[in-house]
């Protein structure tokens, strides 16, 4: 068949499929029913025409034009579903705690890296108060002191709702930023995550130890006990996700390092989804509950303990009873199809 004939005969078909592709490429564009069902078979015919044109040495202009349509068609036909938003609830109820349990070796390591240096620092400062200045510059230390000084009560009931919203914004941007960095730097063979975990642990221990020496225990611990449950756990989990990236590079097993990293990241990023949600909750508690000083300390400790119980109970038990779903939702992404 001559090229001219070929073009004349099939031009209308190409135009139809081009219109379909353009429709699918629009953000809101959708093909309905019949049209959508016919897209796959039309696309395969297009691939066939492209191969024919190439094989018969038709002019490169035609081959390239068909080739361009094939690329665009491929992208629409095989585009991955974006299941995150739809499956959000099931992820929160079951997927995330299951994933945490499945990856618990990393979680335990990260928890140890956060709390053990913190505890050691705390004890060291009770014994040698000046050690606080190895972690924090003096101005920072006196700032912590004034924040939690019972005489000042700046965090107290005097704080109005406007300041609460301002602090909420600050906690969101600061804490989630810290956890993102803790996670991301894990790709440097885990070193970054270890650094951030240990450093945050040390800082936490230093501040707690110093304020205990200063006798501000009540203001400090009633403030942190509530949101600490969500915040510290979330930081530990983001560190664990970072350690997973690092470990996948250090010990790839039978895979290439590249492939090993790719597979580990697919799981690690899902831990980060959960961390984001936990940190938003933590920021909310920190801004609107922790700063509230109307209540007695025992009430704050009670609620704080209750929140810790919720976090631990959630991660340990949630999603155990549900059957029929795998714990690793990594395979969810792979079912490809055109949007319908």
């Amino acid at each position: 068949m001559k090229q001219g004939q070929f073009e004349q005969l099939y031009q209308p078909l190409w135009q139809v499929i081009e219109l379909q592709i353009i429709e699918l490429e629009k953000p809101e564009g959708k093909l309905k029913g019949e049209e959508l069902a016919s897209f796959a078979s039309r696309y395969r015919r297009l691939c066939h025409f492209h191969a024919l044109a190439k094989d018969r040495h038709y002019s490169s202009h035609l081959v390239d034009k068909l080739g361009d349509l094939v690329v665009r068609g491929h992208q629409q036909l095989y585009r991955r579903k974006q299941p995150f938003m739809q499956q959000f609830t099931s992820f929160i109820v079951a997927g995330f705690p299951r994933l945490v349990r499945e990856q618990q070796s990393y979680i335990w390591w990260a928890t140890a890296l956060l709390y053990i240096p913190g505890l050691l620092m705390f004890l060291a400062i009770l014994w040698q108060p000046d050690l606080v200045y190895t972690i924090s510059p003096p101005e920072q230390v006196s700032q912590y002191e004034s924040m939690y000084d019972p005489q000042n009560r700046v965090l107290g009931s005097a704080r109005d709702s406007e300041t609460n919203v301002q602090m909420f914004g600050f906690y969101i941007s600061n804490n989630i930023g810290v956890s993102f960095r803790t996670f991301a730097s894990g790709i440097l063979f885990g070193v970054g995550s270890i650094f951030f975990l240990v450093f945050n642990g040390l800082l936490m221990g230093a501040v707690a130890g110093h304020l205990t020496n200063a006798g501000f225990t009540e203001t400090f611990f009633t403030f942190v006990v509530g949101h600490g449950s969500f915040e510290l756990t979330a930081i530990a989990i983001s560190g664990a996700a970072g350690l997973k990236l690092g470990y996948s590079l250090l010990a790839p097993g039978n895979l290439t390092r590249k492939e090993s990293l790719k597979r580990a990241s697919k799981i690690a990023i899902q831990l980060v989804y959960g961390v984001i949600v936990m940190l938003v909750i933590a920021a909310f508690i920190e801004a609107f509950w922790s700063s509230n000083n109307i209540l007695d300390p025992w009430q704050k400790y009670l609620v704080g303990g209750f929140l810790w119980a919720i976090v631990i109970g959630y991660l340990v038990f949630s999603g155990r009873g549900l059957r029929g779903e795998t714990a690793t939702p990594a395979t969810k992404d792979e079912s490809g199809s055109a949007r319908g």
Partner: protein, 225 residues
């Protein structure tokens, strides 16, 4: 085409998708544009919301946080892999299999941006991207994504010569492409250089003026008269 950076990706239908990975130069320009846009938005947010006192500052902090971390994710997921800066430079992010990037990989590659930036000015990312054929920075390696050039939109070709001449039947597709490329680029070449190049083909073409012959063949290929 051995020197080309073009990669071919085989699809289930047996078609070969040509993808051209984008190097760090063009990506840095795209990133600079995005930074400027983000900077502009941040300034506007703070100017407007600072009028609202503490409440406004809180909201502004949340918005700038979202802008810092989720600006690229938002555009990559909803605009088929193009942030405004990338769109401007004619590049886009795709998954390894050539499909538009999805939420998970996009979030991952943008979180890992902080590591690629280390120790300064994306040095880690640049070194990483020079170590593999797809110019992937660490974030791309982990997320299984790559940045490619968009196919330029088809232009109306004009070779400044009238008439058609049949293309010899034994020219392969790549050889035809070379003829077409010559005709397209001839407006950037001096007349002497054109005839110098075209004369190489004289034994095959056997025509009086090889430059015109090639352009007429190009006319045939694109269907112009």
């Amino acid at each position: 085409m051995l020197l080309d950076t073009r990669q071919s990706l085989e699809t289930p239908e047996g078609a070969l998708l040509p993808l051209t990975p984008a190097g760090f130069g063009v990506r840095i320009l795209a990133q600079l544009l995005d930074i400027l846009i983000r900077f502009g938005i941040t300034a506007v947010i703070f100017i407007i919301l600072s009028l609202l006192g503490g409440m406004g500052v809180g909201i502004a902090l949340i918005l700038t946080f979202l802008l810092e971390w989720f600006y690229p994710v938002f555009f990559e997921v909803t605009r088929q892999g193009r942030t405004p800066g990338k769109k401007w430079m004619g590049i886009r992010v795709v998954n390894d299999d050539g499909t538009p990037i999805t939420f998970g990989p996009s979030l991952l590659r943008n979180l890992l941006r902080v590591v690629d930036f280390l120790p300064m000015l994306y040095l880690t990312g640049i070194i990483a991207s020079l170590c593999n054929r797809q110019f992937k920075r660490l974030g791309d390696l982990a997320a299984g994504s790559m940045v490619i050039y968009e196919a330029p939109p088809a232009r109306e070709p004009n070779f400044e010569v009238r008439g058609q001449l049949p293309v010899p039947a034994d020219f392969s597709t790549d050889e035809q492409r070379a003829l077409l490329a010559f005709a397209e680029r001839s407006k950037y070449l001096s007349a002497e250089r054109q005839s110098e190049l075209a004369t190489i083909l004289q034994p095959l073409l056997a025509s009086k003026d090889p430059v015109i012959a090639i352009k007429q063949m190009a006319n045939t290929m694109v269907g112009k008269h």
